[in-house]
Symmetry: C2
Subunit: 95 residues, 2 copies
């Protein structure tokens, strides 16, 4: 199982909490969760992929347009993932 | 005007094209657009912010839940933005 899947339920729980209450605490915990994702070398596009899974599970009858929008966003994040990996390679060379 | 806003219409057009047709060409052009965003030091959370604006404009009667979901995603991307900036600083020191 990919590392990010271990935290899927936590992500889902925080997201649902934020949707229901718009509680800043959920955002703060999401930020901490993301820092852990970064430490585990999880890329931004993997977060969007997780987000799409949670979106489908939370709203099973969601319009496909909403899913397509997220898939488009996922594509844009792939370039950021590549940029992060390139920087990481440079960093390793530097150490 | 922030650099990303100059490309808002292009982003909106590509996104709408993808939603209507699921055309891979729109994804390819989105990837090129994102590479330009990265060159202009635009951070991933700024893309999500742009995405939310386009979402609201494209679907003015959209459920607020969908917007909250994107706002939550935006928060997770802030940590990636910080990681990119930290790597960028290291890179500059290296050059």
């Amino acid at each position: 199982m990919k590392a990010i899947m271990l935290d899927k339920e936590t992500y889902k729980q925080l997201l649902n909490q934020y949707i229901s209450t718009q509680d800043e605490g959920a955002l703060y915990r999401a930020e901490r969760l993301t820092r852990n994702f970064i430490k585990k070398n999880i890329l931004p596009e993997e977060i969007i992929d997780l987000h799409i899974q949670v979106l489908r599970e939370t709203y099973p009858t969601i319009y496909e347009e909403m899913v397509y929008m997220c898939q488009f966003l996922l594509e844009t994040m792939i370039s950021y993932g590549l940029a992060i990996q390139e920087n990481e390679t440079l960093r390793e060379k530097q150490l």
